[in-house]
Symmetry: C2
Subunit: 634 residues, 2 copies
């Protein structure tokens, strides 16, 4: 029934053309063929045009007895601001396994926000001869999942403000009459969306008319404290003027103005939920548990209290299905969910990984930022929620980043690189190696074998590459360390890496979490700070202390921790490179994503809404009416 996999031959050129030229020049399989090669049944697929499809979660029932494939997480050393090619490596490794070594492979990566596409050039679909295509679809709209999140997030926001307004203008009895109106026969009933609030309040009566005056008030008056509201609105646009706004300045809302703001959609808790949910029913529960603020008496108010969680689930019912695309060499890719990598956990979805592990022998996924950030969250948050057990970590390193950690000059996006980075400099490199060694050891603390992928540039020398390999294996204890050239060569440039991953995947699984959930909030934070960041300890602001007390009282203290830290240093200070020592982590504040299921301590100011430069990337983007193609993207 399954069609045999046939790779798409690359049409390689030298010098390597721009990403969009390569992508648009490539042959594409119909997505129906990609699905067929994976062994998906026609009923399990929903097409979105000829090159994208959604895969239904039903496939998990059919394949539930099939053993999972080898589960590989691609992470990186502490990166320069330019990034070290993690997505490119993820795609290149997949192309090597699938198109060159005959393995059944799936790649699972995040969907990027559409906002930055129009801000600063640079796609998120990999690069060179290791890309996910078509890149226009990958970077724009895709199948509408992020738009669904925008709609759901903003329906909740509208529900909060309008509820406060209506409560302020009505007596308890009026509220009861409006929320539980009598039908034509004079009979009142509870709405479906009221059931979870009734349960929470311990009200078991089924006839609204039997409620006491006090119960009517408790049911109908949420009494939200406007100052407590943490739920913000979202758009998938880089719009810095929405970072801070005052709503309700219209004539009919005057007197109810409130200061709030918009985040970019991928920072919505609903995106984190999409990434962490395991099925539709679980998503319904998580959406209901989203805490948006507290009542004036300090009770947590969630989406179920607002009666809106069912509607949010309906808005998200298609978004939960992973999106199938392909690499330049025709191997299958799931693109699904893209939560922020600082205030959220920065990993693609659990449902995509689950399905992929049933369909393929090797599943290559990527976690956000460096190993101290995305990988730690992949293990302690994502794998805890999914129950899936990782087999191998691929740690991407570059000579450039290692030299920076060794004390090289500052690396700035858009500025030419200092010769220290392009000429051989073994001393600088050697001084930077401890950063890589630290990350290898962190992964090994979780019991997962590490393969280092040295993503090599044309200027790297053999002596430099050899030095990195030696340190990775001998000092870090990596299983192997392999030089890769997938950017220039596609899968062929990552064959050695693929072979090393196959070997490492044969080791018995020995995975464990860094901390048990039962520990206190502070104990969990301190474990991460000491074991992963190398800090001497943690200091809490008075606000953070207050939040910890409040979350503990509300019962949210058994959630895992999602540290909101800079990715540019192992510490909280982006200027500290290499392996900083003798520092303490300051926790400025702590927030709760109760629906997604984690607490996120803020170690600094985290921007949740990017801006546009004076000359945004959109200046070059257009349609070429001769060819009908998109031009100027990337």
């Amino acid at each position: 029934m399954t069609k045999e996999f046939r790779p798409i031959p690359l049409k390689r050129k030298n010098p390597v053309p721009s990403d969009i030229e390569i992508a648009q020049d490539s042959d594409l399989k119909p997505i129906s063929l990609v699905a067929e090669e994976l062994g998906l049944l026609p009923d399990e697929i929903e097409f979105y045009g000829p090159v994208k499809a959604k895969v239904k979660l039903d496939v998990l029932d059919r394949l539930k007895d099939r053993p999972d494939g080898i589960y590989v997480d691609v992470t990186a050393i502490t990166p320069t601001p330019l990034g070290e090619g993690k997505t490119t490596t993820t795609v290149g490794l997949s192309q090597a396994l699938g198109a060159h070594l005959g393995k059944k492979v799936m790649t699972c990566i995040r969907q990027p926000s559409q906002g930055p596409t129009f801000g600063i050039k640079g796609g998120a679909a990999g690069g060179g001869y290791s890309q996910v295509i078509p890149m226009e679809d990958f970077n724009l709209h895709l199948t509408g999942d992020i738009h669904a999140i925008t709609a759901a997030n903003n329906l909740m926001a509208a529900a909060i403000d309008v509820r406060m307004l209506h409560e302020s203008e009505a007596t308890d009895e009026q509220l009861f009459n409006r929320l539980c109106p009598a039908d034509k026969s004079g009979k009142r009933r509870f709405g479906r969306g009221m059931q979870n609030r009734l349960k929470k309040l311990g009200i078991t009566k089924t006839d609204p008319d039997e409620l006491s005056i006090e119960e009517r008030k408790r049911l109908c008056r949420l009494d939200i404290d406007p100052e407590s509201i943490t739920w913000r609105r979202v758009v998938d646009t880089n719009d810095r003027f929405l970072r801070g706004i005052t709503v309700g300045t219209g004539d009919e809302e005057k007197g109810h103005e409130r200061n709030t703001g918009f985040d970019i959609t991928v920072a919505s808790e609903i995106m984190a939920i999409l990434a962490l949910t395991t099925d539709l029913r679980d998503m319904r529960r998580r959406l209901g548990e989203i805490v948006v603020g507290t009542s004036k008496s300090g009770e947590a108010i969630n989406a179920d209290d607002l009666g809106v969680a069912g509607a949010l689930t309906v808005l998200m019912k298609d978004a939960i299905k992973p999106n199938l695309m392909q690499t330049l060499e025709g191997t299958p890719v799931f693109v699904h969910a893209g939560p922020f990598a600082n205030i959220a956990h920065g990993n693609s979805s659990i449902v995509a990984d689950r399905i992929a592990l049933k369909l393929a022998d090797y599943v290559i996924t990527e976690s956000g930022f460096g190993a101290d950030m995305g990988m730690e969250k992949f293990f302690d948050i994502k794998c805890r929620a999914s129950g899936l057990v990782p087999n191998v970590v691929v740690l991407v390193a570059t000579i450039r980043a290692l030299k920076m950690h060794g004390g090289g000059p500052k690396v700035v996006a858009g500025k030419p690189l200092d010769p220290a980075y392009t000429d051989e400099n073994l001393e600088l490199l050697k001084a930077g190696l401890p950063n890589m060694v630290h990350h290898i050891k962190t992964a090994r603390k979780f019991g997962v074998p590490v393969v280092v992928a040295v993503n090599s540039f044309a200027t790297d020398t053999d002596a430099e590459l050899a030095l990195v390999r030696k340190a990775a294996i001998e000092e870090g204890g990596a299983e192997d360390a392999v030089v890769c050239r997938h950017w220039a060569l596609g899968g062929e440039g990552a064959i050695d890496l693929a072979r090393a991953v196959i070997e490492a995947g044969k080791k018995p699984r020995n995975f464990h979490f860094l901390y048990p959930l039962e520990k206190s909030i502070k104990e969990k934070i301190e474990t991460i700070a000491r074991e992963v960041y190398g800090a001497d300890g943690v200091d809490y602001s008075p606000e953070a202390e207050e939040r910890i007390a409040s979350y503990t009282r509300l019962g949210f203290d058994k959630l895992p921790i999602c540290m909101a830290k800079t990715h540019l240093s192992l510490s909280h200070d982006p200027t500290l490179k290499g392996v900083p020592t003798g520092f303490r982590i300051p926790v400025r504040d702590i927030r709760a994503s109760v629906g997604a299921g984690f607490l996120y301590p803020l170690l600094g100011k985290m921007s949740t809404m990017p801006g546009l430069p004076t000359r945004p990337a959109f200046y070059d983007i257009d349609i070429d009416f001769e060819t009908g193609r998109v031009v100027g993207m990337f």
Copy 2:
């Protein structure tokens, strides 16, 4: 090659179940079969799951020599606030033509906003046994066109605010250096997005370095007057707290705060453009011509001046393709574009109608509100832009609405109807007939034959129905007037209507516009006010006078007029029923949608952002996990 059309048999019940029960109980054709029956080629279709597809505009090239089908617009008399069943009639008539009379038919209707779905119960997909299905898809997301509009609209908004900020912080030379940066070789170039501004400024130089100091300033400093900005942000959510907002209150934007607001997405000018555009190149031009405000010296600033129109086109490139769905009886439907029916023209898209007219012998479309509103705009704005010639107008009337016009008690949504409406009352009915007669005569002024569809309710009596038919034909000059029961019976209930439409469609075409574009703004407004509304004249506020002078100076006075008037009266006053006389129309203000291509005089306060009630419809909406179905919608 074309498969013969096979209707889906209705599973009718009595009493008629709820809309969602009927819709979910119905059998669906795979959308591939609907496409095949229409004679579409596989390459011309893009599937969006199993029951929705987009049709590519290429089909117009293939069929360009095929004659157009009969083009029918369904409109209504002045409605009650409950609506008189125009969409239901549009669908029922189509089902009669296609499933019962063997005609090749297509239905072209608007996509509704998602916002109201969660506010007050009531879908937009028709009702009873005359519906477009699946209604969940119809009312939620569809294929993402409205989401694309949200993204495009808000990218422009972000571009405006950030441009003003950057201009305020930079010298002319800094702006020039940022907007025309030198590349690695030291060479500057103009971005693709600058070409139209260069043309507008009359700058023909191709090397930025050759620009004079003055030219650099003119190119780079838009000098937008913040007070002049008419471009607002949009969300497809009923969020009244966004009607008025202050943006830029964040720490990094302080000092640049601005009062503005959000509209619901369907009120975006980009939605009006989607509805009025004829192809991708035309859409690119219209998007570029959107005027967002003026410079401090009074020059109109448009999207091309901001360099963002190419990116807007790229965001909208898939939205331009009409969406194929089906009726309960399996006839094909295009659902495409849904501009507001007051501040915009309230008609579905030109591209859908064009394709439909090539694929089918009868194309049934609908225009918003009553004949004085949507139909007039259908003729003077939409048909003018498309060049398509309408054959027949179907005017929907109900005994209920006619009695209201005759002086019956107030009709209020959610309240029981007065017995005057449910008992026979020939006097009241007779007194209301002039409203219908007026609308028939209006349609005939455009040279289009009229068929009246009396959408009958169970309480209507034979004597009442006969009275309406007689007046329509004898007093109004309608070709025919037919009693319909498609809500209860599906297409079978509209067979007589379909036969009357077929007859009327045989008359030679004699269509003409109400006014030529060359007339002045005031002459055009007065023509509509006198000829369509029956007003004695028009009064202009000082603001309106100022705008007329300004638009005339800017050259926007040759655009057609889109009156923003209440739909609940022929006059500007919603309480005046029947055929009001002795009134003058007050023009409070005038706005320009230059990209869409019309001016819209405001005759009253038009809400462009609905709110949510205390108990929004979302309280009942959820997934039933036993069946996997959406429950509680409608």
